[in-house]
């Protein structure tokens, strides 16, 4: 599962936070990135699977990868 092209520049660690905060924080963080930069969102809120990818796309960002590994989910989102 090596994807060397997907190196995130920033990480948002939302571990422990419930809805809606992970999705809200993700949308608030994205404008801080330069175009083309990648944000890594790490969360253990399972509900985020239905919120973060859709919200990111709806707000004009590109969801590059979603990795589910037990309770932890990682999203890679490009501005």
């Amino acid at each position: 599962m090596n994807k060397p092209s997907l190196i995130p520049s920033y990480r948002l660690d939302m571990t422990g936070e419930p809805c809606p905060y992970p999705a809200v924080a993700t949308l608030e963080a994205m404008p801080n990135l330069s175009h083309g930069e990648i944000l890594e969102v790490v969360t253990d809120c399972p509900q985020s699977i239905n919120s973060i990818p859709l919200d990111a796309r709806n707000h004009g960002y590109e969801v590059l990868d979603i990795q589910q590994d037990g309770p932890t989910i990682r999203y890679l989102i490009r501005r």
């Binding site: 997907l6 190196i7 995130p8 520049s9 920033y10 990480r11 948002l12 660690d13 939302m14 571990t15 422990g16 936070e17 419930p18 809805c19 809606p20 905060y21 999705a23 809200v24 924080a25 949308l27 963080a29 801080n32 944000l39 890594e40 790490v42 253990d44 809120c45 399972p46 509900q47 699977i49 239905n50 919120s51 859709l54 919200d55 709806n58 707000h59 990795q67 589910q68 590994d69 037990g70 309770p71 932890t72 990682r74 890679l76």
Partner: protein
């Protein structure tokens, strides 16, 4: 397809919400046909509160509210009771299959405060309106009870204020954007995942065996337990969240869950209708101020808490401690409502009519009206979505016009 593929695709990965909500809609119609009641959870939570009061030496069975919702028997002898145990078993099995059980501790005390307060407000409001997102919304509207429409609209309004309140700075913990040069390694303990999966299977199969054996001596109870198991699997695996359906319309403009729920009600309503035409009695509640007040409180409470009566169930078994507090709050709130019901009921509820749309407009008229209102709700969501993103887009381009 190997067993490993099957496991990964169907048991471990999350399910898409739309098919899951449609399945819940269809199942809830069959559930009504078989058990004679609708898929509901808060009434039973209120009875748990009643039993706790009995243990403490009180006599809640003499109170009006418990005579209304009945406190006879135990959770194991009531349809709602075994169904809820089934839901917990389903949620827990599904969470274990995906190794998704983890003790998630709140990051800050404020989360516990909002979970408990939101849970109490939502529990009180739900029982005031005679149902939560299920009995007064997802399974209430397909019963053709007008009170469910009052409740749904009031919940939407309440959730708007809840969303504004919940994003106030006092609830926002500081999050920092870390500069990094490589992704965080994700390492799942493969042995733990295997053990958890097996444990989930044991719970799933044991509960199923118990429910099937029950269904021979007490068919309704056994089948209700099996339906509960299926509902539990659906809500956990697809992370069905009624709270987000309302809340995220306002916060991020996301409408997927709201649309799925409207379609779920649409597939359910025709099924319920057919059972009613065959002679089943629909569950109709008072269309009074209680439905509106209860909906406003409920909508506010579920957003503050982060989940409703259905939502906390699967999150609690996933180990999200936050939602243990929501569940406790729900039971406290529902019990408080039962305490003061006899004083407020004549003013806000029992002197108002129980309006059955199929009786008022005739069976075909009521059915047509229900689908018309569902279609209008769907249309309203599409319009809201368009407006939301149009105003976002103009907010994004506005600073560009002003280079200062």
């Amino acid at each position: 397809m190997t067993w490993q593929d099957f496991k990964t695709h169907y048991l471990v990965r999350f399910w898409a919400p739309l098919p899951a909500v449609l399945a819940a809609g269809v199942l809830s119609a069959y559930y009504f046909g078989i058990t004679g009641t609708f898929w509901a959870v808060t009434g039973e939570f209120t009875r748990w509160g009643g039993h706790l009061l009995q243990l403490a030496g009180y006599h809640p069975e003499t109170w009006g509210y418990f005579q209304l919702i009945h406190l006879e028997g135990t959770p194991l002898t009531r349809i709602d009771g075994v169904m809820i145990i089934g839901m917990f078993a389903g949620c827990l099995s599904a969470a274990l299959w995906a190794n998704n059980v983890k003790l998630r501790l709140p990051r800050h005390r404020i989360r516990i405060v909002q979970a408990l307060a939101g849970g109490i407000i939502a529990g009180f409001g739900a029982r005031l309106a005679m149902g939560c997102n299920l009995a007064a919304f997802f399974t209430g509207i397909p019963q053709f009870s007008l009170h469910a429409w009052f409740f749904a609209l009031a919940t939407a309004a309440g959730s708007y204020f809840g969303a504004r309140f919940t994003l106030l700075p006092m609830f926002r913990l500081p999050v920092k954007l870390q500069k990094i040069d490589q992704a965080m390694p994700l390492q799942q303990d493969a042995n733990q995942a295997r053990r958890r999966f097996r444990l989930g299977m044991v719970i799933f199969l044991a509960f199923m065996a118990w429910a099937v054996s029950q269904s021979f001596s007490a068919p309704k109870l056994g089948l209700a337990a099996l339906f509960g198991l299926a509902f539990g699997l659906l809500i956990e695996r697809a992370q069905i969240c009624f709270t987000s359906a309302f809340r995220d319309l306002w916060i991020t403009g996301r409408s997927q869950m709201a649309k799925a729920i409207i379609l779920g009600m649409a597939v359910s309503a025709i099924g319920i209708y057919s059972y009613i035409q065959l002679g089943a009695a629909p569950k109709i509640m008072w269309a009074g101020p209680n439905a509106v007040l209860g909906g406003l409180m409920f909508g506010f409470g579920i957003v503050l808490a982060g989940g409703c009566e259905t939502g906390w169930m699967y999150r609690a078994v996933e180990g999200q401690v936050h939602f243990w507090w929501v569940g406790i709050g729900n039971i406290i709130g529902a019990t408080l409502l039962a305490v003061c019901w006899d004083d407020i009921a004549p003013v806000v509820a029992t002197n108002f009519d129980k309006v059955n749309l199929l009786a008022v407009f005739g069976p075909q008229g009521g059915l047509l009206l229900t689908y018309l209102m569902l279609a209008m709700s769907f249309g309203a969501i599409l319009l809201w979505e368009r407006r939301f993103f149009a105003s976002k887009a103009s907010a994004r381009t506005a600073p560009a016009q002003n280079p200062a």
